[in-house]
Symmetry: C2
Subunit: 303 residues, 2 copies
């Protein structure tokens, strides 16, 4: 497909989608089939998809962003998209099985924040993972800095949505005021809504929780403790926390008589709802491509 055709198709689809609201892919297909002779939908490169996200999200470039390609090239034509938290070997194989060749992963591919493959010298696991990505011709893009900069942050919004807390969610705020519930019930509610089997808690099971500090992922002890000090939430909900920082702070705060609890969900499961929700965000803007969420799941067995 030539560039001009491609752009026209894009404008056409965008306008159609806009006028029809959240038009489902199924509704679009017959329309396209009857109005063109090319057998496929509009062809998108990886770069065009990223540009679309930037444009539709109203995003400006972030200096030194970690949101770079970890494998493949930006001019590759996209056959399908998979979103996930951690692009594990299972997720990569599942993407290949689905015929998708573009993975958007929220977290690192090569086990360090900057995805430096030489972070540990001659890392054989990194090398095998690179070979697997190459074999399946998969472009892997980290989608971390930009998804957090959407308004609302699609990660925290997705978590709030899945937890049933959208009525209490405010864009740009980590604090939510929910109807008061005992800690033990809050834990059960989170496990059930987010599909979490096990988690770790500091607190009195009967403590009333209403003001919630919701910080999925691993944003660091300093920001977690700062929120706890500034906002004095009843409970802080995090994905991962350094034990010598946030965890000991909460333990001491409680021992000093403060009414505060901590729920540690686990990093992968804590932000996964955001990458799941992002399919809902992107699919209507990109009806030409199939976008699938593949959960990376909790890596641990709890014994």
């Amino acid at each position: 497909m030539r560039k001009s055709q491609s752009l026209n198709r894009r404008k056409f689809l965008t306008r159609t989608a806009q006028s029809a609201g959240l038009l489902a892919l199924a509704d679009l297909q017959p329309l396209i089939a009857s109005s063109t002779t090319v057998p496929t939908l509009k062809s998108w490169t990886v770069q065009e998809v990223i540009d679309l996200i930037m444009k539709e999200g109203g995003l400006s470039p972030v200096k030194d962003t970690v949101d770079t390609l970890k494998s493949g090239k930006a001019d590759q034509v996209v056959k399908g998209i998979v979103t996930t938290m951690f692009p594990t070997i299972t997720v990569i194989k599942e993407a290949a099985r689905l015929g998708a060749n573009f993975i958007m992963a929220h977290e690192p591919t090569f086990y360090n924040h900057l995805d430096n493959p030489d972070w540990v010298e001659k890392n054989s696991v990194v090398q095998q993972k690179q070979q697997l990505l190459e074999k399946h011709n998969i472009v892997l893009w980290r989608f971390h800095d930009y998804i957090h900069r959407l308004r609302p942050d699609a990660i925290s919004y997705g978590v709030a949505k899945k937890a049933g807390w959208l009525p209490y969610y405010k864009t740009g705020q980590s604090m939510l005021t929910i109807p008061s519930v005992p800690l033990k019930q809050l834990v059960q509610q989170l496990k059930s809504s987010l599909g979490i089997t096990n988690l770790r808690v500091i607190g009195d099971p009967n403590q009333a929780c209403q003001r919630i500090g919701l910080l999925p992922g691993a944003i660091g002890g300093q920001r977690q403790v700062a929120l706890a000090e500034r906002e004095k939430p009843d409970v802080l909900i995090v994905g991962e926390a350094p034990e010598w920082e946030t965890v000991e702070y909460i333990r001491d705060a409680r021992l000093l008589g403060r009414t505060i609890s901590l729920i540690v969900l686990g990093h992968a499961v804590s932000e996964e709802p955001g990458m799941e929700y992002f399919v809902d965000w992107l699919q209507p803007k990109l009806p030409d491509l199939k976008i699938t969420h593949v959960a990376s799941k909790d890596p641990f067995t709890w014994m």
Copy 2:
């Protein structure tokens, strides 16, 4: 007690202890009572105790060490010593109850590695903890860099000892070769010997474990992954691990067919046996003072 008396007493006691080997405190007391008119044993300042550890441990000063006083003054006369992992509010109160005014804590007091009290501005928990330490006139020394530099490292030695692995422990090495045991049995053995209620695992419960990478504490993902790559252990045992680093590395390694497992003990419980063992190390060298280990315990409830 005057300084000259104090020094003479120290020399006398050191020589006596040396000639008698590991002389117990109980054996010394009558000897002292009969040979002096002062009612107490030799008086030690905090600095003298630290100097003794440095001398007896054959330690050289570490540049920019985090092993500094977090409360109190080096010239305070020591009434009793408590060793612990995390100097929680409970541990501080227990030290005061025991009449100890010198706490040696392996990990931070103020929830960050450098123990900067302003790491989070106007941290009310830090302020209350400082007040509690002041109220009980407790000197709190971090004992991290130096205890790891003892030969053997008293932390890993203490953990190996408590796990029943001293026959397989080699000074300066993180790798131990133990009699082969299935992963699930190894987990039960660690829980029982180290007194751990819950822990997290990645691996096949039936995998044979013989070559063990023992890395208590939170030494960082890079060193954990480097050991796994270099030594190819059957199982890596850590205290705490960044989930986006070591945890995902192990998950992928296994998915790629590697035979490796991960056991995450929890930071506090993973190094506590080292601070417990250090009492055995120090007490015979310092029979004048009562040294007690107070465990900081697992901060979490697992739900």
